[in-house]
């Protein structure tokens, strides 16, 4: 019953929206799609800032249906806008405290905790006018969290920031994700952000929801545009199995295989997220004997899609039987034909690059 369930239909301005999805009310759910596809409209409807016909319930709590429409201020949300939208006449401290209920129950998100987590202790007495873009956005996140939301809505909180500032804030977001048990809906049009943060994905296009589900499943779904895009990749949740101090390589295990990844020391047994680009995975019929590629995994071809640019995107299942984690591989049509590859064949997946995209977090 613990889900975020949404079904909105109607027009906002010139814009038609027909958005329906249901995702678990835990972890980060990214709403992903190109600019202007209705992501923000959906989020504003969930918050009650816009009103369309439809339904919205969070963990069984009905916020909107045919009979009810709960006003914004009675919905237990936190909303982080694209522009921080701080109150310019209040200090950072008073901005943070604006939505903070006077007394807090046990388990509440504490002021000192948030200030520490977001690194904003030295800004407290300043005016929002004298903050950098990144600082402002951190304060806005803290302000939303201190209102003790049951659902955090983040509308491209990083889009107004430059790359350096983004890189400065992303670790804070990852810390939040690890430290708080608070479901987050996160709008983004940047797949790199999504791969770092999201657990579930809602894929939008032209005001409609194409698909929703776990990130790794949607990434590996060849019927969706994600798997065929230029920067197609899969995200794999892996466990740290071994750490070799002498050559700086760690072994991380996923279903049906394991990867060697160069990294700073990792704690054994922790979960990390790996990202493997489709373009970084090539295929061989026999085990290559001598190669600089350290990650060669046995896999089976599960499904393929030929693309207009004479290339083939293949979905692989790791392991001899192909029942393990999914990988995408992109090869040219020519090599595909020369090797006589086809669905069902066992292959060796040569993985040229593996990226660690998420900070360490304890095993749940």
């Amino acid at each position: 019953m613990s889900t975020v369930k949404v079904d909105f239909r109607g027009t906002l301005g010139r814009f038609g929206l027909d958005a329906r999805f249901e995702v678990p009310a835990r972890g980060v759910t990214a709403i992903f799609g190109p600019s202007g596809c209705g992501k923000t409209a959906v989020m504003r409807c969930i918050a009650g800032l816009n009103r369309l016909d439809g339904l919205c319930s969070v963990s069984g709590d009905v916020w909107q249906d045919e009979k009810t429409f709960r006003p914004v201020h009675q919905r237990p949300i936190g909303y982080v806008f694209q522009e921080a939208n701080l109150f310019p006449h209040l200090s950072v401290r008073r901005n943070l405290m604006y939505g903070h209920p006077g007394r807090t129950e046990a388990g509440a998100i504490g002021f000192d905790e948030i200030v520490g987590l977001l690194g904003i202790a030295r800004l407290l007495e300043r005016s929002p006018r004298h903050l950098s873009g990144g600082e402002r956005q951190r304060v806005a996140i803290g302000r939303a969290l201190l209102s003790q939301p049951k659902l955090l809505l983040m509308d491209e909180p990083l889009s107004a920031l430059d790359q350096m500032t983004k890189d400065e804030i992303l670790p804070y977001l990852e810390r939040l994700h690890a430290a708080l048990v608070l479901p987050i809906l996160y709008i983004s049009h940047d797949i790199a952000e999504v791969e770092r943060l999201a657990d579930q994905l809602v894929l939008m296009r032209n005001g409609a929801v194409l698909a929703s589900g776990p990130l790794s499943e949607l990434q590996a779904d060849l019927s969706l545009p994600l798997a065929l895009s230029r920067d197609a990749a899969v995200s794999l949740d892996a466990t740290v199995l071994k750490q070799d101090a002498t050559d700086g390589m760690a072994t991380l295990e996923v279903g049906g295989g394991s990867f060697l990844v160069p990294t700073e020391p990792l704690t054994l047994g922790t979960r990390r997220r790996l990202r493997v680009l489709a373009d970084d995975v090539s295929l061989a019929v026999e085990a290559p004997s001598r190669s600089t590629i350290v990650n060669v995994l046995r896999a089976r071809i599960l499904e393929i899609r030929s693309q207009s640019d004479h290339r083939v995107t293949a979905l692989l299942g790791l392991g001899e039987d192909g029942h393990g984690a999914r990988l995408l591989s992109r090869v040219t049509q020519r090599s595909w034909n020369e090797l006589g590859l086809q669905v069902g064949l066992p292959v060796y997946a040569q993985v040229k690059g593996v990226a660690l995209v998420r900070r360490e977090e304890p095993l749940a």
Partner: protein, 229 residues
């Protein structure tokens, strides 16, 4: 020229300040919700209301005064209202003057407050709502402080404009010392009766007063644009 200034010169001054102060207070109370509605409503006919509020800007004061005289008189709604406390009419009374001033100075108060609310935009109010603030709390803690320069401008303009009004007062107030004889009427009166000293003292006072008002307004505006950037 007679340098002796008659003592009752201060009576119209005091009456004017009383009238302007009371009018300003009433205008803040009445004008703020109107300005809020004009700034936020999406009703198609709201500009018609805005035009109605702004009419005294272009209407000859005597026209407004004429209608007010009819409305406040014994056979108008003002007369009905006055009969509640046993009076016959609101015309030629201080309350009548207040009503006239409120209507006449309304645009000078509503417009700056409306502009300030509009300049603030929807965003701060939306942020407040997502932080569990009721519309009432958000209005007082966010909208009013953010629009405070507009309130200040509106109050100053409303006060100053009431001090300077002449035509409407003459139409509905007449010239009753201590009751309806305000500054501008007094100056006119002194000139009529060739009391040039009194007239020039009051006139010079008005010049200084107006200068201070305009200067203050400009300084507020300057401060506003500075803090907005």
């Amino acid at each position: 020229m007679n340098l002796h200034v008659s003592a009752d010169i201060w009576q119209p001054v005091r009456l004017t300040l009383e009238l302007a102060a009371l009018t300003t207070v009433i205008l803040m109370l009445v004008g703020t919700p109107i300005a809020w509605w004009l700034a936020r409503s999406k009703a198609w006919w709201k500009e018609a209301v805005a035009a109605l509020v702004a009419i005294p800007l272009v209407l000859p004061p005597t026209v407004l005064g004429f209608y007010l005289l009819v409305a406040l008189g014994p056979s108008g709604p003002g007369g009905a209202l006055a009969s509640l406390w046993g009076a016959r009419t609101l015309a030629f009374t201080f309350p009548g003057l207040v009503i006239g001033s409120v209507l006449f100075s309304m645009p000078f108060v509503v417009q700056p407050i409306r502009n300030a609310f509009e300049a603030m935009g929807e965003k701060p109010m939306e942020a407040a709502a997502t932080l569990r603030a009721s519309p009432w709390r958000a209005f007082w803690t966010i909208a009013v402080p953010l629009a405070s320069p507009g309130f200040l401008t509106g109050a100053i303009l409303g006060f100053a404009h009431t001090v300077g009004e002449f035509g409407v007062v003459l139409m509905i107030g007449g010239n009753i010392p201590g009751k309806t004889k305000v500054l501008s009427v007094a100056i006119y009166d002194y000139v009529e009766t060739s009391q040039w000293t009194e007239a020039s003292v009051l006139a010079l006072g008005m010049v200084v007063f107006s200068f201070v008002v305009i200067l203050t307004m400009m300084l507020i505006e300057k401060k506003m644009t500075k803090s907005a950037s």
